[in-house]
Amino acid sequence: MKSKKRLIFWICIAVASVCAGYASYYFSSKQNNEKVYSEMQQEVSQSIEKAAVSSPAASESAPAGAVIPVDFDSLQAQNPDIYAWLYIPGTEISYPVVQHPSDNSHYLNYTIDGTYGYPGSIYTENYNAKDFQDFNTVIYGHNMNDGSMFGSLDEYKDESYLQANSQLIIYLPDRMLTYRIFAGVVFDDRHLLLAYPLTDPESCRSYLDALGSVRDINSHLDTSVPVDEHSRLVTLSTCLNTKANARFLVTAVLTGEEMADGR
């Protein structure tokens, strides 16, 4: 009788310690994985600050072109799939963008340095060209609890936040693309690029109509921003912890394109 109790006791201890061990492994590995990004972010944000200080003076003397604050050579040495940098001034969002050549779901589960698990990567699928010339480039990212990756997109449910943080920048090795965020919309989980094929102008039109027809307390679309099927859009897509089978989409339209300094 007594030994039985003792056995149960030790089993409990064992189960608890395995759980605790796994939990601490899980959290520490996630934290480690996120470190990859914060190191890259630091470098880029320093260059952005530097560029901000030096560029006004430079632009007065000569139209020098955009300063690209991202060292793509060194990033691509780490992972050749890195092809762009996404930056939303005033927010936490400043991430390298990747695209896997064949496996579209790869970067859902893999961090930029090839580690399996959260937080994954900020990525596009190969339905999109990598030059951001498509009508709509869809960028995916996890909605992380700690606000990293696309975890802070939830803020765009507040229209005043959308208005205050409406600039979005894509850096490519040879150019800087400036976008205006005009919509934050709770949408269903249909695959956007299959549902609205890029090759069909009518389906581009219906994507815009679909965004505009959502009526929801958390969805906003600024109709004063001119957008049509000839526009070039970026749509950021993440999941919602409050609604099943739904995605939160933040959509921006291209407003400026500037070639890089010296190109």
Partner: protein, 334 residues
């Protein structure tokens, strides 16, 4: 004694271990759940979708302030149906009629107050078009009154109206509905011995005795004229009528409350009205409306009446609607 103590100690330790294990498990699953079906369309695993309802509207941020949906609210849709009156459009399939009066009764079950939100019949919004086999055909921007016609004039029409009104109100839940057409109105008003209205303003264009401040008891026919009268040659004439309709509904509710009808008497009235009335509420829940007192005047959906090519169009002001909805349905977090 020592043995007992040991026992207790063992149990306590075991309990602590189990608790630790459970907490670790919960932490992990919560973290997982949040991010698992994050992103992609093609590869997304909708692991957490089972049985999870839509809670997205419950907690919101508006102009930097956090708000929570007031969960003691219940919204009931009251519809007045006109089968013969001024139709907005000829190309509608149903003979169910149109919803001429659309009032959202917002019940606060906490303090037993009721607010009336009036939705103009000409409100332009997305309505769902169905074919004759009730298959969804398209969505179209049109007068909300038409949505009713794409149903059967009873349960299906009411269901469509509930969905469309909910969508119009930025997905606020609409839980029940009552619809009544003119025949039903006549019947019920005569049955309860008329409705006494104190005229809040001058309505002598309907009847010379309807001067402001006069207390008049309307029988079924007079009640019908009171809620129905509208000079269709005057653009936007459905708006003052909506005000009048809310005056009528208030007086009607007050009359029911005063008479304090039992559930079985309410059931009799529903039976008497027959096809002229539809509700998805039972007599007991209808009766519970007595306990509410109406607070304030009717609130009209914010917007502006615009003269369309052939018919009036009421265009909702989306900014004003959003702040009105926050005011009506939400509480600021502390």
């Amino acid at each position: 004694m020592a043995d007992n103590r040991r026992k207790i100690l063992t149990i306590l330790l075991a309990a602590a271990c189990i608790t630790a294990a459970i907490i670790a498990g919960l932490l992990l699953s919560a973290d997982r759940k949040r991010s698992i079906d994050a992103a992609s369309g093609s590869a997304a695993v909708s692991a957490s979708s089972s049985g999870e309802s839509d809670m997205d509207y419950r907690h919101i941020t508006y102009h930097g302030t956090n708000y929570t949906y007031n969960s003691s609210l219940k919204t009931i849709l009251f519809l007045g149906i006109d089968k013969t009156g001024d139709m907005v459009s000829q190309d509608y399939p149903g003979y169910g009629g149109q919803a001429d009066t659309i009032l959202a009764l917002i019940l606060n079950q906490d303090d037993s107050t009721l607010k009336i939100l009036g939705i103009p019949r000409d409100t332009m919004t997305t309505i769902d078009i169905y074919d004759q086999n009730n298959r969804w055909y398209a969505s179209e921007n049109a007068q909300i009154t038409l949505q009713y016609a794409y149903g059967d004039g009873a349960s299906r029409s009411c269901w469509l109206m509930k969905n469309t009104v909910s969508r119009l109100l930025l997905s606020m839940p609409v839980s029940a509905s009552v619809s009544l057409n003119m025949d039903g109105l006549d019947t019920i008003i005569d049955k309860i011995g008329g409705v006494t209205i104190t005229m809040p303003e001058d309505y002598t264009y309907i009847d010379p005795s309807y001067v402001s401040g006069a207390s008049v008891t309307l029988d079924g026919k007079a009640a019908e004229a009171f809620v129905r009268y509208r000079d269709t040659s005057v653009p936007g004439s459905s708006l003052p009528r909506l005000d009048r309709q809310s005056v009528f509904v208030k007086a009607f509710l007050a009359q029911l409350k005063k008479a304090n009808y039992s559930s079985s008497q309410i059931d009799q009235m529903i039976n008497l009205a027959g096809d002229s009335m539809y509700t998805d509420m039972d007599a007991e829940s209808l009766r519970s409306l007595y306990s509410y007192s109406i607070s304030g005047d009717m609130i009209t959906l914010p917007g502006e009446m615009i003269q369309g090519e052939t018919y009036d169009e009421y265009h909702v002001s989306s900014d004003a609607l959003q702040s009105e909805i926050i005011r009506l349905f939400y509480k600021a977090d502390d």
